[in-house]
Amino acid sequence: MNVMYFAWVRERIGVPFEDVQTTAVTVSDLVVELSAREDRYAAAFADVSALRVALDQELADFDAPLAGVREVAFFPPMTGG
């Protein structure tokens, strides 16, 4: 699936998006899997309460299932307006 990162999450991980092959069942599982890969992921995901996630461009919870999802995006709380 396509995994995207925005704002400081993108800066910490170092790429705006990447293709990730995973068997993670939920968003939280994916976070654990990515965090175990390299320090830059662990740094970005150190406090998931400071993060938001969108599945196929809709806001979702970290316990949401990933089945059928094509695009996951991680980002800090939004600051529009």
């Binding site: 704002a7 400081w8 800090p76 939004m78 600051t79």
Partner: protein, 145 residues
């Protein structure tokens, strides 16, 4: 209704004039957000967004406003990219038969655009760059709707 997400500058006055008019319209409310230079040191503000989700999220917010209030029309323009102090960032306009609907809907649109449209602001000053943190008050503001 119209939702525009763009890097180009816009003329809020011209946009408001173009938005005006329409059968049965008795009230128009607009809000324009400006890049604020709080202590005179802002060099630039970078606005990042999530192309695709941004348009969908704003459209969903506008649809909700059209359902909740008796609006004739609504307009949302939001810029992204590098902006200077004093530049318009975004504007919202609503029109309705009576002012209460237009005021409430514009207020609602602003509260939701703050916290539910995928934009992130980064300020650059002489001291460096920093992401603008979301405020608890902005999240709490959603509870009143």
């Amino acid at each position: 209704m119209s939702v525009r997400v763009q890097d180009a500058a816009f003329d809020a006055g011209a946009e408001l004039n173009a938005f005006s008019g329409g059968d049965g319209v008795g009230a128009i409310v607009s809000f324009t957000g400006i890049v604020r230079d709080t202590d005179g040191t802002l060099a630039a503000m970078e606005i990042e967004h999530y192309p695709g989700m941004t348009e969908r999220a704003i459209q969903a917010i506008v649809d909700e406003a059209m359902t909740r209030w008796a609006l004739v029309d609504a307009l949302v323009i939001h810029r992204f990219g590098r902006l200077s102090a004093g530049a318009p960032i975004m504007m919202v306009a609503t029109k309705s038969a009576h002012r209460a609907d237009a005021f409430a809907a514009a207020d609602f649109l602003m509260d939701y655009l703050k916290s539910r449209a995928p934009f992130w602001k980064k300020e650059t000053t002489a001291d460096g760059s920093a992401w603008v943190a979301a405020k608890d008050a902005d999240e709490d503001a959603l509870d009143r709707w």
